[in-house]
Chain length 417, copies 2
Amino acid sequence: MSAEIICVGTELLLGDILNSNSQYLAQQLAQLGIPHYYQTVVGDNADRLKQVIEIAISRAKILIFTGGLGPTPDDLTCETIADFFGVPLIERPEIITDISQKFAQRGRVMTPTNRKQALIPQGADILPNPTGTAPGIIWQPRPEITILTFPGVPSEMQRMWTETAVPFLKNQGWGQEIIYSRSLKFWGIGESALAEKVAPYFNLPNPTVAPYAGKGQVRLRISAKAATTTAAEALILPVEKQLIDIAGLDYYGADHDTLAGVVGQLLRLSRQTLSVAESCTGGTLGQMLTEISGSSDYFWGGIISYDNSVKVSLLGVNPKDIDQFGAVSSTVAEQMAMGVKTRLLTTWGLSITGIAGPTGGTDTKPVGLVYIGLAGPNNEVTSFEYRFGTIRGRSLIRYVSANTALDLLRRKLITRS
Amino acid sequence: MSAEIICVGTELLLGDILNSNSQYLAQQLAQLGIPHYYQTVVGDNADRLKQVIEIAISRAKILIFTGGLGPTPDDLTCETIADFFGVPLIERPEIITDISQKFAQRGRVMTPTNRKQALIPQGADILPNPTGTAPGIIWQPRPEITILTFPGVPSEMQRMWTETAVPFLKNQGWGQEIIYSRSLKFWGIGESALAEKVAPYFNLPNPTVAPYAGKGQVRLRISAKAATTTAAEALILPVEKQLIDIAGLDYYGADHDTLAGVVGQLLRLSRQTLSVAESCTGGTLGQMLTEISGSSDYFWGGIISYDNSVKVSLLGVNPKDIDQFGAVSSTVAEQMAMGVKTRLLTTWGLSITGIAGPTGGTDTKPVGLVYIGLAGPNNEVTSFEYRFGTIRGRSLIRYVSANTALDLLRRKLITRS
């Protein structure tokens, strides 16, 4: 007994809009424990929509439609569904009243076009739309098939989903078993290396464990099926602990955690402070740190020393070292980190200098070469060399560099204490 | 002869990620004039994927797959396609070499798991992945069916699409009648205000004009149907000129232009330089400016004065003014702008101080209150007050603040010259 999501709209086929409704409904179905195996997008075309319905009823029992409920001629979801099941449309006076009132509220008069929205299949229930003019339907055209329709506007759809569809589905016995997930996040290890370390876990039946990778980060998603969130968490917790244990320092957080947030929390707890000196990242590190509300507790600020003159004048980097070793070098990274730490009077100074590309690389200093400097509480300073490669592109090299800097500090903060 | 987009991934069915690949591919197909009528999402499940392929080949000739090309056991797109068409997988040594080299570049050794990614159906061509380890395939398993596969990572997929798939499809005769679009971008004017100014253009048949709004910006998309890009551009150009003329200074650029890029170009052409002082944006402005390769020509750097002590020590803001007027005030914004300009010896100094929220607002200084300071070539300094409102959220307030600062400088650079 599974559901299927069917999004109707030529604008989706033209790529004019992003299909966020699918994601929302997918999350909602997972939470209710309603399995769904397919999502389909089809244009505003009656014949093709009928073919999609034909396929969907052969493999699912709950069909969830979004889009095509508007007042214009190309909105044909409701009439096509009725036509498919051979049922006439009936004008429902309560919908006419509702739409008229909504127009009146905005000081307008209902247009004749909107009458179309009051036509719903004989025998269907109205799925009320509190904020828009297009109502949906809840309908069992055949004993084993349930149809739910929603407008394409996400805010209208979501409110109709939570206020009417969820209570209806729970009343049908759904939501007894839910799927609950936790994402564990790792930095400094590749997907395949981590996958090899935790390979046996990929065969677990409940919870299941699956790896995902992207933008320098690897995630392991642990998903449990259970009667309640609490029961799901109880299934997840021991597996989560074991995975974190296996990964060691490569694990940095879960779900919505960010490296900037984790570092911030470590600094806050130990009452330490941070400043940054950025060359090739040009503010990215500061931006990430200050994206977190309350970061002023531990983040004092920084210096964006994009031009070498700023490295010298504001950070005290020795111009001779820039000449001799280059601005992208371990000694300059270290002097930047010390420079910002001493000038901003913070516990830690973190610096980045590198070649983000696409130009500026040489044979000895290729694009993707990045030095990260870290100056600490006792004025000890170290630096680390990375080669992020030429293939990732400027934006990703900067993003990975900033997160790698945060990860270095994170490891230092954990292993020191 | 139509295409069909098939996105493979259980994470899509769980709603873990937004299906942006569908939108990208839909836009690309529209531009090439390749009709597509269906998009399907299916999980990492061989049987269900085979059913989807069965349906897709009954209604489309070009099947475009994304996702499921990774090294882990749940990545089964390629092997399932091969299995469906009854063709064995062959290990391709050139892929092994390519993956090994990519690992070597990052100072790592290829893991045995990655060998899986070198297995492609006998007779298929490799669709190279310049940035990741998962190659795609271009394959005609039957004379009338073309299969294209891409990894799920959007950046990898997009580069593979433009570099290899598009030339392949054009070579097959696609792209004869194309839809070509230009997006005009506006800052400092609302969607409805702009829409009223240009209302008659919304009725044009070819090119069409449509408005879009989001994240503080309004766009007008001009789309033309024509035999060639050149012919489409000829249709677009007069409309584009008229729209730009009507919008005046509110227009800042087209397509991939950013405010940071436009400002950079104006600075470069006039051989002027810029530095920034950021409080609530914490590096966002620097990040945007340095996202552009070559920005070192005009951007010297900046000071992230997140803590008030840094405003005083590094920017020379008068601590008495901070006490009297608050750190979020026009006088502090002006002193920050002058401070960074004089210390970094640039033509312009641009500053931002504000309350990004969600906490820290008061009745007189609510969340969303932002002051932008601008110090110019003759040491003249001005400031501007904005109230971006509480509903946008911290991240968007910071984004809009940084772009508004860039927009102010843009207007100044244009009207001065």
